[in-house]
Symmetry: C2
Subunit: 380 residues, 2 copies
Amino acid sequence: MYELLKVCGRAKRGRLHTVHGVIETPVFMNVGTAAAIKGALSSMDLKEIGCQVELSNTYHLHVRPGDDVIYQLGGLHRFMNWDRPILTDSGGFQVFSLTELRGKIREEGVTFSSHVDGRKIFMGPEESMQIQSRLGSTIAMAFDECAPSKADRSYIEASVSRTTRWLDRCVAEMKRLNQQEETINPKQLLFGINQGGILADVRMEHAKRIAEKELDGYAVGGLAVGESHEEMYHILEVTVPLLPQNKPTYLMGVGTPENILEGVARGVDFFDCVLPARNGRHGHVYTNAGKLNLWNERYKLDDRPIAEDCQCPTCRHYSRAYVRHLLKAKEMLGMRLCVLHNLYYYNHLMAEIRQALEEDRFEQFKLQKLEGYHANAKSL
Amino acid sequence: MYELLKVCGRAKRGRLHTVHGVIETPVFMNVGTAAAIKGALSSMDLKEIGCQVELSNTYHLHVRPGDDVIYQLGGLHRFMNWDRPILTDSGGFQVFSLTELRGKIREEGVTFSSHVDGRKIFMGPEESMQIQSRLGSTIAMAFDECAPSKADRSYIEASVSRTTRWLDRCVAEMKRLNQQEETINPKQLLFGINQGGILADVRMEHAKRIAEKELDGYAVGGLAVGESHEEMYHILEVTVPLLPQNKPTYLMGVGTPENILEGVARGVDFFDCVLPARNGRHGHVYTNAGKLNLWNERYKLDDRPIAEDCQCPTCRHYSRAYVRHLLKAKEMLGMRLCVLHNLYYYNHLMAEIRQALEEDRFEQFKLQKLEGYHANAKSL
């Protein structure tokens, strides 16, 4: 199912075969929280900008329009007309971060209030698997608690321990659901999630525990939530080597192009982040020489594309001056063109990374990219 | 330049040859006020949905980003990357409707405040032609006053008389500008505008006056501003026959599909309106059986496209249920998909009208369409 095509240091070049097609890794998943990419991008656009995997949020779809609605409409792939792989998160992250319920977590699961209509919802490992099964995603994520990295050791240890017990319940429930006749995707994959904040020993112990459980993939969760980049890289260095190398590794919610290059160097296959789309909506766009802020006066008469060497739909057709005008005139098209560019940039970066890995020059490629980001950002 | 291909009663099937290509009429122009269609549509999208002519607003582009900026960037076509015809209005309508300046109109022109930064701007016939020349549109509109239809006869008569004098200044200035070496489009066309509120005799007298002036086309302005549909149709019936049949006729700012069918029947070639894009942004979408409000609960599980027989990008790929979800989740994509559908609907309606005219069955086609709009709207 997962082919490890090549290893360069810790970096992996892999290929995950799924019922919805092949995923070439390292890969960046494009985040479409509510079954749509913010910035008015459609699933047709995702194809045009080279997206391999779309990521949707279980919590958001559960509260609106409801996983029952999406199930009745044939599942998420059909709902949003996307025939390539989809990863759904477990809902846990939103449940814990959108609601104020520390202390209300029980062994069974969590009760929280919908941000849409305030109604009380219960979610535990079984419920999360059931929702993701009804959505019919390609890859489901285990239900975990993303404990605050500032929490004390005793809290984190208890939380991680519960997350391990929840994982067993996820595995059992997913197995049961995949055997149901009415299941939309009976080959739904399940990834487990490593937790432990920035406590290296807890992370390592937990990594060993979940590595034993023959999952389809392994994520490192609970990072990029306030710790420093160095702390994040250190956790990856001690944790990833304990996860099975012959399974995909996913660093959740990360990050900048720099973070991604460093993550790949530490053995990560899968990434996702809202950053490129959010930056795009604010007119901040990526180039190999750093980010540009298209609101800047200096682009008023700049007839060049955002990036001279970019083949995205925006750069092929429109100038910095035009996009800047659209942003200033509050035309939605301005945000859309910036998001198209940024996601293309990320997807293309991953393609470049894969090629560099294949050609045994990833380390050199990485240094060159980092140099570009740091050296020239001010010169554009 | 304008070929009259066919006449059916008063209805005309025409073809206008321009430096930016041929316009098959009757045509609906898609409104991109600030050089972009609201709803995040790009010029690439406009091609996909069959737009022949894009319409931009001189006033808006003059205040932001400035016609000097667009001129330096090579003109509006290059700025927004649209190689087909563009019509620019004169700025007059916005100057008179966005600003409170009744009484401040002088023979020379009008002084008003920018809605962007409040600075004082003077615009008269020469300034309007100069701005439109710098934009380099295919068709420029004469600078006129669109007097309030409720104004008294003496005001309207004086206003129309001034508009006629302004037209002579527009003609002279456009001639001069088209001879300048640095002009972006030295073959810029100029359409005159008939005014007179709902006073049939003033309209008719004015139509005769401007018909003498060998213009590239003739518009009927100042309608769809509060009068009844019957009053509008009556004005068309008495005015259009006095305008040259061998020149294109343009009904400004109109309207619903019903209005367009009635306008074509009365000899109109060109239409424009913000309605389909605005309705789309509100989730109101057109079908041959009337408008649907996609916010309605009844579409929650509706797997059908907006219109079963529609070939627009939205209907080819997405369901009513999905679009409804996007609208409710406040995803920009929802508005975008509705606007794509609505503008396609309008552009396609015009293609159907042209074909019906060619096949000598326009009257029958019109009745059938009107029947559909009225009969079935509630049944969907």
